[in-house]
């Protein structure tokens, strides 16, 4: 882990009109980390992510590679960070390969068009996530799990180190959820940095080097997964009962009815 953070957020406040969403966030992301952002609906997770991507205005308090985000264009940000949104409807029926090639657009000049190399990089990215056989299928006809993999392949084709994911397993079936987490784990071993929001404390235990918990627009815990995720925190943030059990030396978070 390097000393200087990739992304540094200091005392960040943000409000949609009069509704305060973030009330003083301090947060850093270092190269090689897998950070899971936990918290109930409306706690400000997605807002924080959108601010880091400069999709919302608040960049004064955010630094990327030591430079204020205000000085970055979207093209420059795309040279550092890839965003993997939740899979969604696309109005035109692009093929899978075309979707992945779109990840290369920030590498092109204004008038340049995608070259053979861009298509090769896109194909390789599809291979990496294991869906090369879907290359020519229309994106809209894929299952949720396949779509999420295509969006991940697009981020790989972008050739950057930091991946920001918004609730990556949302809407996937149980098998695809776990497969996607495994893939994130194996990409992290190759050196990719992840910042992902999640609704599942158990998933945070499965794949993260650090867990950040947000509640009511503030960060209330930040540290190693095993230290941060415990019954009291779950009770406080989500208002339910859960136990942390150990299985094969790994911690698991299991909800229990009382």
């Amino acid at each position: 882990m390097e000393l200087a953070p990739m992304i540094e957020v200091k005392d960040l406040h943000f409000a949609y009109k009069k509704h305060k969403v973030l009330k003083g966030i301090d947060f850093s992301l270092f190269r090689g980390e897998v950070v899971s952002l936990l918290g109930p609906n409306g706690c400000g997770k997605s807002t924080l992510i959108r601010l880091i991507l400069k999709l919302l205005d608040g960049e004064d308090k955010i630094r990327l590679e030591g430079r204020s985000l205000r000085t970055y264009s979207h093209k420059e940000i795309a040279a550092h960070i890839a965003y993997i949104p939740q899979y969604h409807h696309v109005p035109f029926g692009y093929s899978v390969l075309e979707m992945v090639v779109m990840g290369r657009v920030s590498k092109l000049g204004f008038f340049a068009s995608s070259s053979k190399k861009d298509y090769e990089v896109a194909s390789a990215a599809l291979c990496r996530v294991g869906i090369e056989e879907l290359e020519n299928r229309p994106f809209g006809q894929l299952s949720g799990g396949q779509k999420q993999l295509v969006l991940l392949a697009r981020a790989i084709a972008q050739e950057v180190n930091v991946f920001i994911m918004d609730e990556p397993v949302n809407g996937l079936d149980y098998g695809n959820q776990i497969r996607l987490l495994e893939l994130i784990g194996s990409l992290a071993k190759e050196g990719y940095t992840f910042l992902k929001t999640t609704h599942y404390p158990d998933h945070a235990l499965l794949v993260s080097t650090r867990v950040v918990v947000m509640d009511g627009g503030k960060i209330i815990a930040d540290g190693a997964p095993e230290e941060v995720i415990h019954s009291d925190m779950i009770k406080r943030v989500y208002g339910i009962n859960a136990e942390i059990i150990t299985h094969d030396l790994h911690k698991r978070c299991v909800p229990v009815f009382r």
Partner: protein, 340 residues
């Protein structure tokens, strides 16, 4: 993939060339291929012409009548179809076109005002563009008044309202226009006609039209990204606001100039992109340049029909509607597969 794009575009250009040659030779005074060869030799190498064939007549037919008309048909078809493809991408809405967004109505109102106010050609062009742009703006404004999100139906409704507004305003202009000179000029021009084409005028308007088409073609790789939604496009590194405004200005400019030159020619901007999407796919890198080529070919063919089908010439705007409506119904039937 990259080679495939080149092949499609080459094939399109060859087909366009065939249609252009056909239109050059065929007409009330047919010219044979041989005669064209003799004429070209005469023109280029100044070879003495056979006195039996009237070189001066052929020269006049080609340069005064057919060539300007062919060039204008290609330019306008290309301008309308490309603008249609770009509007559909910009508003992430497969149902919009220059006609549906009210651009054609706005531009025709602007151009009619221009004709009323001034004899100057440039005034007419600028007025057409300004009011074409106002019409799109108005359509978008009305479309976003009810819902903040970009709704397909609301934008179409906004366009219908904007189109009606400018059609009504156009009626006002017609009402006050001189019934013996200006009014008939406006009415005939609005029906859509390529027959008034003069070579120097065509070449003059070709420059801005070709420049805006070229601009849209060069920007086409961004249109795929914009159709994913603004946030995703920004995260992928696209300057969304800048691309959107440039694209809308270029599409409005091209379609307004088409209106100035030939009146209201509907449906081309709506159906051509749909046909290409159904046949080849939705990627704008291919859709935008092919729309230009296929749009040009379509209007050239429609113009040939309008000249040759009956003994009198059918106004081209009426013909494109008559051809466009059944095609669009077929397209709608297959639309879901092509959009999704």
């Amino acid at each position: 993939m990259v080679g495939k794009e080149r092949r499609y575009i080459l094939a399109g250009v060859v087909i366009l060339g065939f249609f252009a040659l056909f239109s050059l030779l065929w007409g009330q005074y047919p010219i044979s291929l041989e005669l064209l060869g003799v004429y070209l030799q005469h023109l280029l190498f100044d070879t003495p012409a056979d006195p039996s064939c009237n070189m001066e007549l052929i020269h006049n037919i080609i340069t005064e009548i057919r060539l300007p008309r062919i060039l204008l048909a290609i330019l306008i078809g290309a301008a309308l179809a490309t603008s249609g493809a770009v509007f559909q991408a910009m508003f992430v809405n497969p149902l919009v076109s220059p006609g549906i967004l009210g651009v054609l109505a706005g531009a025709s109102f602007g151009a009619a005002c221009g004709m009323l106010l001034s004899e100057n050609w440039l005034v007419v062009q600028v007025m057409a563009f300004v009011f074409g742009f106002i019409a799109v703006g108005f359509a978008v404004l009305v479309g976003s008044m009810v819902t903040n999100s970009r709704s397909t139906v609301m934008l179409v409704l906004g366009g219908v309202i904007s189109g009606s507004l400018f059609t009504s305003l156009l009626s006002v202009v017609k009402y006050v226009a001189d019934p013996y000179s200006t009014l008939p000029a406006i009415v005939y021009w609005l029906m859509g006609s390529l027959s008034m084409a003069q070579l120097n005028e065509v070449l003059l308007v070709a420059v801005p039209i070709l420049m805006s088409i070229a601009g849209m073609v060069f920007m086409s790789k961004y249109f795929d990204l914009l159709s994913l939604g603004d946030e995703e496009a920004k995260a992928l590194g696209v300057n969304v606001g800048l691309i959107r405004i440039i694209a809308i200005v270029l599409a409005t400019l091209a379609s307004s100039l088409a209106v100035v030159m030939a009146g209201i020619i509907g449906w081309v901007g709506l159906i051509i992109p749909h046909i290409i999407r159904m046949a080849i796919g939705p990627s704008h890198k291919l859709l935008v340049p092919l729309s230009a080529i296929v749009g040009g070919t379509f209007l050239l063919a429609a113009d040939a029909v309008s000249r040759l089908a009956l003994s009198v010439e059918i106004p081209i705007g009426i013909l494109t509607s008559l051809i466009g409506i059944p095609i669009f119904i077929i397209v709608l039937k297959n639309a879901r597969a092509a959009w999704n």
